[in-house]
């Protein structure tokens, strides 16, 4: 691995009122990867996700992106730097049409609205939502909303796309379409980091998985390695035992 990583987290720690959500997390994400961020509930996946996206600041540690220190950068600036994200519960702009939602994203790199509109139409076509462009975003079905989230994020022409549980709770055919979309996104040159719960769908998709547990990195490696790692198994089974 001679090329520099696209995203690096150095000893990233985040504390909320005494609760340590992320502790000394150090990971690297490389250009062109699809990386899965997994772990049992409460492992700190969402926290790390939000830290990378810029929703709140780190308590300590630093985050580098494309060679630049972005630790202090606010969310909007990170988008301009090339990091895009989706939200777990889709946050669509309901007073606007599907197309207009995506235009907001496209404006990042196409400030003139006419060009943004063209870009948005293309992205919607790519994401399979061409038939719904004129509909108000509030009218979409939940799977369509997820695709809108993704389309909107892609329209910002990111280098890194953070997906928050986009494959959770889908029917098998919807899952297949979702997986296909993520693959196409990677093929178009965007690096993807996905937070996920649904192991069966995610493992075949990702190149690499990072497992978090209790706020720290537990294991890293290919899906095959992770699945056989006794510590990982222990973390998941352990949680299940406590619940029972």
């Amino acid at each position: 691995m001679t090329e520099a990583a696209l995203l690096t987290c150095h000893d990233v720690t985040r504390v909320f009122d005494g609760l340590v959500a992320n502790k000394d997390i150090s990971i690297e994400i490389h250009q062109g990867e699809i990386v899965g961020l997994i772990g049992p509930n409460g492992a700190g996946k969402s926290t790390l996700f939000n830290l990378i996206a810029g929703s709140f600041p780190v308590t300590s540690g630093c985050i580098m992106f494309g060679g630049r220190d972005i630790t202090g950068l606010p969310a909007a600036a990170r988008c301009h730097a090339g990091i895009a994200r989706t939200f777990q519960v889709p946050r669509s702009f309901d007073s606007m049409s599907v197309l207009e939602n995506v235009i907001v994203g496209a404006l990042v790199h196409y400030p003139r609205s006419r060009a943004a509109r063209v870009k948005a139409l293309e992205v919607l076509d790519y994401a399979g939502l061409s038939g719904r462009t004129a509909h108000p975003a509030g009218d979409l079905t939940p799977p369509e909303r997820r695709r809108l989230e993704i389309a909107r994020a892609i329209a910002t022409e990111p280098r890194l796309l953070l997906l928050d549980e986009v494959l959770t709770g889908l029917t098998p055919s919807e899952s297949r379409e979702g997986v296909d979309l993520v693959r196409r996104i990677r093929e178009s040159g965007i690096t993807v980091v996905m937070v996920e719960h649904v192991m069966e769908v995610v493992m075949p998709l990702v190149d690499r998985a990072i497992v978090l547990n209790l706020g720290e990195v537990l294991a890293e490696g290919s899906p095959a390695e992770i699945v056989r790692d006794p510590a990982v198994i222990g973390a998941y089974l352990g949680t299940r035992n406590h619940a029972a």
Binding site: S55, P74, A84, R91, F93, S95, M96, S97, L121, T133
Partner: protein, 335 residues
């Protein structure tokens, strides 16, 4: 490639719609400009002038509160600022109202930025109440500021009719054309905004601020921009009002009631839309004046009953505004 064909087709259709809208507006304005040829009754003229003024004011208000979602009920502050600035500059310093209007507008924009810096961190109702409170402070201060006439207000000096001083004693037609022009400008600004990145950003911020941020929108500066533009035009309207009446006093240009009246046409007609404030003003102002003239004179308050009842009914029955009654005009059909 089918995709690119449909894209360019969609774009072409969109451009057609946009220019059609512009053409419609142009036609309306041109038609309206001829009204003074037919109408000579002073009372009717007054109602028309007020209607256009409120349309312009409501349109300005709509920019901050409708599109950007920051509901301000203290806009009378800017109206009053414009009115007083123009009046003081003219009466005490002889500065022509044309400049007075511009200066008043600029001043209002600056004040809006300063207030915004303070208040935009506030959410929803807290923000709205802050705007009300600030306007009330302004009103109270003016009430007690002798230089600005305190409670007595400011009277413009009588003089010959002239466009330079915006004073026309006998024939109100020039006022009509001026306010028509003002309205046309605010409409045009809104039209441009609707398709500009600012417009998209504001609506995104209104709908879901964190999501907007994740798409690269800086929330704070967006709100500030909306506030400044909104305040500017409101103040210009205020300056015009002062020239129109040739007399202002604190309660007529800075009261809370006025703030509500500026917002009402937009809400009734369709908040956050291009034509909403226009329709709202066209419906509301004539009705207000008519009920007041025909029923209100007895002091029995029945005009208030009618007025209040009407507002209630519309607000409840059609929350999206009267605009939604016209299917072809809804934004969703435009792509």
């Amino acid at each position: 490639m089918d995709a690119s064909v449909s894209v360019s087709g969609a774009i072409a259709a969109f451009r057609r719609d946009r220019w059609r809208e512009m053409a419609l507006a142009g036609l309306l304005v041109a038609a309206a400009a001829t009204i003074p040829l037919f109408v000579h009754d002073v009372y009717t003229m007054n109602v028309l002038i007020l209607t256009l003024l409120y349309a312009a004011l409501s349109q300005s208000w709509n920019i901050l509160s409708g599109y950007c979602g920051q509901i301000s009920l203290g806009h009378a502050l800017y109206f009053g600022l414009g009115a007083y600035t123009t009046s003081i500059l003219y009466v005490h310093f002889g500065v022509l109202p044309w400049f007075g209007l511009a200066i008043g507008g600029a001043l209002a924009a600056l004040v809006a930025l300063a207030l915004g810096a303070m208040c935009f961190r506030l959410a929803g109702h807290y923000f709205t109440i802050a705007t009300i409170v600030i306007a009330e402070i302004g009103l109270t201060l003016i009430h007690n500021w002798d230089y600005a006439g305190a409670a007595m207000g400011i009277q413009w000096p009588f003089g010959p009719d002239s466009w330079a001083s915006l004073q026309f004693a006998r024939d109100k037609t020039p006022y009509f054309h001026f306010v028509l022009g003002l309205f046309a400008v605010t409409w045009l600004v809104t039209w441009v905004i609707e398709e500009s990145r600012w417009g998209y950003w504001w609506r995104a911020v209104k709908d879901n601020a964190p999501a907007a941020e994740s798409l690269g929108v800086t929330i704070f500066s967006s709100k500030m921009m909306a506030a400044a533009i909104s305040a500017f035009f409101t103040a210009v309207g205020g300056g015009f009002y002062a020239a129109f009446l040739s007399y202002i006093d604190p309660d007529s240009v800075m009261s809370f009631r006025l703030s509500l009246l500026m917002a009402l046409p937009a809400v009734i007609g369709g908040i956050g839309t291009l034509w909403g404030p226009v329709i709202g003003a066209a419906v509301l102002i004539p009705i207000t004046e008519l009920t007041r003239s025909f029923i209100g004179g007895t002091g029995a308050g029945t005009d208030l009953i009618v007025y209040g009842g009407l507002i209630m009914v519309i607000a409840l029955a059609r929350p999206e505004g009267l605009l939604s009654l016209l299917p072809s005009r809804s934004r969703e059909s435009r792509t």
